[in-house]
């Protein structure tokens, strides 16, 4: 009885703490986190391209990078909450004005990354190159419409 009360107390405390920390997420931190994830994706893309274009050998690492890209790619949808369009960000307000279209582009991007993963897993070099270009196009398409560039 005592033990379960203690457990309940602890659980409540944990929940309260978690709730507090969630409520404390500032738009500035949300933007910082978004940038961190985007940078991580860019780094994996860069590493992946160095291998796939034969500039470094580590063929065995390809799948790790594309896996990371695929996982991080599925997180993008929750990284643009309302209120994070101003401040230290290059995200354009258009994202929040046309949520449906933005979401479609992200879904298409997830799909192209999944295709890339499949091509890499199958060891199909030609398909990998083709799919990588498609992934790049999906990144570029979104940046072109929804990211402020060069001021």
């Amino acid at each position: 009885m005592r033990r379960s009360r203690l457990t309940t107390l602890l659980t409540l405390a944990t929940l309260a703490f978690a709730g507090n920390s969630l409520a404390a997420t500032t738009p500035a931190d949300a933007i910082k986190y978004r940038k961190a994830v985007m940078s991580a994706m860019a780094a994996h893309t860069s590493a992946f391209s160095l291998i796939s274009f034969g500039r470094v050998e580590h063929q065995g690492h390809m799948l790790a990078h594309v896996d990371a890209l695929a996982v991080l790619g599925t997180q993008l949808k929750v990284l643009f909450p309302a209120g994070t369009g101003t401040g230290d960000t290059d995200a354009l307000p258009l994202i929040w004005q046309e949520q449906a279209r933005f979401g479609e582009l992200l879904t298409a991007s997830e799909k192209s990354t999944a295709d890339l993963r499949a091509a890499v897993a199958a060891g199909d070099k030609a398909a990998t190159m083709k799919a990588f270009k498609a992934v790049g196009d999906s990144c570029k398409g979104c940046h072109d419409r929804y990211r402020k560039e060069n001021d």
């Binding site: 940038k35 860069s46 290059d90 790049g136 060069n150 001021d151």
Partner: protein, 379 residues
């Protein structure tokens, strides 16, 4: 005597045969030539970057039918319809008309175009390339697409004012290969300077909006659509000096920056419509040419070509920390920077960015002037 008619007939037959032969081989040759020329024209339309500007910025826009809105420091332009529609396009244009437009910046009625159309770059194009572009554009299905009139300040209302500008700044000499350089470099120079007209955005402009080729490709703070266009010379920090040739090739092919980011901005249209359609050899030629340009620091600190974390660094770095300063009078170094920035911009922007017109005349470049009157609230 009696054989003469035969001789005549014979010679006529021979002549006829000769004519027939020459005509038939001629048509075969020209048919082949024209198929070749069409393919070449289609390629050049990409290499010349025609599509990005002459296609409206709508998902359903018909390529090359015009109507793209282009904001520049000199006003808002709408690109014309390049399809051979007689009313709203280039219906009835001859080779001579295309030549006059592309290489001399003149419309068929003799009036000069505004240099928002990059004829100062196209002037270096070869006869063969002009003819191929003309042939291919004429082969398009005509599209009836009237485009809005340009929105320009009163003093630019007539195209004829550009005659004076052309006298001052327009160099219509065709491209000549540099024998001291290899084929790749020369091809790259032709593509970058003329056909691809990279300098129209990447080279800063002087006070009257002419390209300052002494700073070729060193970046342009006043690019189209209010974009700051990066320095693409070989500076290690401000330019693309850290990019390997493979980095450049990958960027031109698919838009990936060396840090794995993908470009958006107007360059993404250039990649989609132009450089991704080029042959690998042509992309390499462009890269070879770009890598041959000596470092030249951009006088303004905005928009370096990106390496890692471009966005954060460039924002913080631009104009130093002085931007937030409450001090109204600039410190010498900031004055110097601001002065350089003002010089790089067209005078239409001076008021907006806080340049002091009193010191903006070319004769006032003496050091005393900028210290005397560059008291700019914005620096």
């Amino acid at each position: 005597m009696s054989r003469r008619p035969w001789l005549r007939v014979e010679s006529r037959l021979c002549a006829a045969l000769l004519v027939w032969l020459s005509v038939s081989t001629g048509t075969a040759a020209s048919a082949e030539q024209s198929a070749d020329r069409m393919e070449r024209g289609r390629y050049l339309i990409h290499a010349g970057g025609c599509i990005s500007c002459h296609t409206a910025d709508r998902p359903d826009a018909i390529p090359l039918a015009g109507g793209r809105r282009l904001e520049t420091p000199f006003g808002v332009f709408y690109s014309p319809n390049l399809t051979p529609d007689p009313k709203t396009g280039l219906g009835g244009w001859t080779d001579a008309d295309f030549n006059a437009a592309l290489r001399h910046g003149r419309a068929p009625d003799g009036s000069p175009y505004y240099p928002v159309f990059p004829y100062p770059a196209y002037a270096g194009m070869s006869d063969r390339d002009v003819a191929a572009i003309a042939a291919w554009l004429r082969s398009l299905p005509p599209v009836d697409n009237p485009v809005p009139a340009h929105e320009l300040p009163w003093y630019l209302g007539s195209r004829w004012v550009m005659l004076g500008w052309n006298l001052l700044f327009f160099d219509s000499r065709p491209f000549t290969a540099d024998p001291a350089r290899d084929t790749d470099w020369n091809r790259g120079a032709y593509l970058v300077r003329h056909l691809g007209h990279c300098g129209e955005c990447h080279t800063p402009r002087n006070l009257l909006g002419a390209r300052d080729d002494s700073r070729e490709l060193a970046g342009n703070p006043d690019g189209p659509d209010n974009e700051k266009i990066p320095n693409i010379r070989q500076d290690r920090d401000g330019g693309i000096g850290r990019w390997s040739i493979e980095d450049l090739l990958l960027f031109l092919e698919m838009g990936m920056l060396p840090d794995g980011d993908f470009t958006g901005s107007s360059m993404s249209a250039v990649i989609d419509d132009n450089t991704s359609h080029l042959t690998a050899d042509d992309r390499r030629a462009i890269a070879v040419y770009l890598q041959s340009l000596a470092p030249l620091d951009s006088p303004y600190s905005g928009a370096p070509a990106r390496t890692a974390h471009f966005h954060h660094e460039s924002r913080a770095g631009r104009h130093g920390s002085g931007q937030q300063s409450a001090v109204k009078v600039c410190r010498p170094q900031q004055e110097q920077e601001k002065w350089q920035e003002c010089l790089q911009r067209t005078w239409f922007r001076w008021i907006a960015i806080g340049c002091s017109p009193a010191c903006m005349w070319p004769s006032s470049t003496d050091p005393g002037c900028k210290h005397r009157s560059m008291h700019m609230a914005s620096c």
